[in-house]
Amino acid sequence: MNILSLILIIFASLFFTGIIIRTKSFFSGRKGPGIFQPLKDIWRLFRKGAVYSQTSSFIFQVAPSIYFASVLMAIFLIPFGNQPGIISFNGDFIFFAYALALGRFFIIISALDTGSSFEGMGASREALYSLLVEPAFFILMGSFALLTGNTSFYEIFSLLHFGSYTSYAVGALAALVLVIIALIENSRMPVDDPKTHLELTMVHEVMILDNSGFDLGLILYATNLKFAMYGTLIANFFLTPGNEWYYSIIIFAVTQTTFAVTVGAVESFMARFRMNHNPQYIFVITSISLLIFLGVLLLLGKII
């Protein structure tokens, strides 16, 4: 049954971007494409030929595969309620973060491999933002390690009991942090605008300007997977043990949909920040996670 989370994440990833796009078209008063349109695009890319830059080397060829593999590896570690992920061990969330970082490293150097100034710019921004995001995730996990006395995804989530009001506040804040992390990691509004037409203002999209065909398909589908992965992490806060798995799946579906709709709503109503304001914004989530840490200390009665 350990494979349940993988199946669910892959299932959720099929709908995720579709729901975002539908939400956006709903708010802008359009009919919008079908919910499976993003998937159809990816499927078409998988069967297409490719154009490789003359400047690029083998790095450019292998990077998308490694990026995709790293995302898959990270997904293998995600538990589902009281079911552990495919692999689960003490400190697996460290491996989770570092596996994702490996993928990011390769995407960054593959952008530099093309020798394009635009892609270099995107690479520089991606490296900076990921550096700023990571502390928030680690402090978040540290807080929950303190709260539950355990250091693996599975144990943390299966022992998370929501009792007092403070714990609800902590849970809500944690969900908020994860939503923002997911938005930054997937380069969505308000940090990056995936639909802009000006390369100078992009982060992630400009890095993959030169990717085409199968590679581009892999990168785009990895984005879907990453969304579903973070959605599952968030859902895990609400899947309390004791609930039967069929309840859990409904909670999971509701959480993922809410998450997707939120992303769509954010993109419809917010403008992208100025590039030099992004670091401040990203730092905010580190301070929120510090707040969570303080909340946990309060919960455990260590400070009063």
């Binding site: 400190g91 990011r104 710019m121 990921s130």
Partner: protein, 673 residues
Amino acid sequence: MGIILSIIIVTLCSAILVGLVKEAWKSNVALVAVLVNGVLSTCIAVPVLLNVPFDYSFYAGNVFGQIPVRVDSLSGWFILLMNFTILTGILYGRLYMKHYENQSANLSLHFASYIIIHFAMIGIYCVQNSFAFLCVWEMMAITSFILIIFEYHKMETLKAGINYLIQSHISIMFMTIGFVWVNSYTGSFDFNAVNEYTTSVSPSISFVLFLVFFIAFAIKAGFVPFHTWLPYAHPAAPSHVSGVMSGVIIKLGIYGILRTLLLINGDYLTTGYFIIVVSVITGVYGVMLAIIQHNIKKLLAYHSIENIGIIGIGIGLGCIGLGLNNSYLAFAGFAGAMLHTLNHSLFKSLLFYCAGTVYQATHTLEIEQLGGLIKRMPHTATLFLIAALAICGLPPFNGFISEFLIYSGLFRGIADGELSSTTFLVVCVLGLVIIGGMAMLCFTKAFGIIFLGTERHHQNATIEETSVSGLTPKYLIAVMIVLIGVIPQFFVTVVSRPASLFTGSSIIEYKPLEIIDTLSFISISAIGLILLSAIIFWTKKIASARAHVVEAPTWGCGYVAPTARQQYTANSFVRSFRKLVHGLLMMNKNENEMIGVFPNAVHSETHPYDKMEKTFIDVPLKHLKGFMGVFRFLQNGNPQFYILYGVVFIFLILTLPYLMNIILFLNELLKQI
């Protein structure tokens, strides 16, 4: 005894032999000597790690007295990791030095120093007599100075060398103070006297003694603010020496700190907090400066400082674990620190060797002038990439394993900690994460700008990959890097022996099992990651086998005539980061103004400088110079005056007892009145 004697004889004979043979043979003599000494010292180290103690003491004349040669598993571990890097260093150095074959005397000195420094380091790890220890340490300091100043005709190299020589002697001075302190109370030069002395005094006094030793070893290891010699010495030295220096020689400082911790009996909690604070600052500051460097060897030197910080976090965590009686914490901390020492010696030496290869091919170390080397030197590029991934702590390479150990210790400490230690450890996690993120920024920059894109500057020389014999030592290291990343269980089992020296041997029976268990999962995940990547790449190959694949210029967003100069540069890659932390950095800008409607040509230069160096070295030195300037009139160049000073000095020394008596007498007289 036989082994020690043979090591001494081999060193002496080969050091002399190097001077006698032809130029082409010097390196081979050095190689054989290092190989023999390495095998002999491994013969000491391996049984020790298998729990057969090596304890011997020999009489070395009236001056030294009995010198105890005691090798425990800590020394054994360090001897093994040193031998590996020293060996790859000489394998690579042989080729590197081929470019200087006309300088016969210089080469003799260089290779003889290389043999002697290996011997001196074996000595440092083995002897446990403070007097003998200082002697071998001095031997190491002098020979490493000679190794650094190989290109002595360059002013910069000489300056860097002298800077190093002075700072390493300040380190020796602190060490001497520490040993003399202990000796004056116990009358013994044996290391065990330190232990006896500190058990008899209060914890605060033993903490001060620890501080003295810590400063001594911190200068060697490069903890901030004692790091200033590193960024000068590493670029100045030939590449194999920089690799060995960063990989092994600065680790002597780490060994010293660990040894001191074993010997000094004090308050582990305070010590741990102190070490962690220094280490987090060291790590963050080191990598921050590394990012803004555009000289590749200087960049790598600052990364050594960063990694020393990570090792320090491990050591500090271990101490906190001992203070809190939390054996898991202590084990994770010390094992992580020691494993990271090995890991750093591997990937850092590999990075320096690759940098050396790049330098010999292109004759420049400036990142901004390079680019597109991956097409000319694919092997070197791949090796550099592996080392870069490892130094960023990414799986499935070795850096991840040691950082994982430290992280898991930190998180376990948070999970079952007290308020004060928990808050503290969260700050450490924050530091470690930021260090990791910045390392990634730095190495995507270094690798991306040096090896990817197209040539940023026209190179006159034809750039070619080095020969197979130049690549062999590098691939050897790369294999080790991957091995540690893929089967960490084995290496952590080995390192658990020296770590148990700190945590007590009871722990080794059952506790590490838990870590080994976790590591076997990491091993599976690492292999899984590699396999997954391979499968996906293979799928792609099959899926697009029949697809139409073409090559075209890079998409220039509509612009069709891009040049190499339009590529992103190292400076622009880190610009937004630099702007973010500009308060902590120091950029010396040299720029002339643009004048007129049709402006003239403008030249602009930026040089990053070290703010800590400015505050802790330059400013005090300036004041010291000013103060000393007052006495400049004494230095007037007349021999007569100098003779007079001598006479006055001798007179004062001779009459000192009389003067004392007179003063005492006057004092008495005054009292009577």
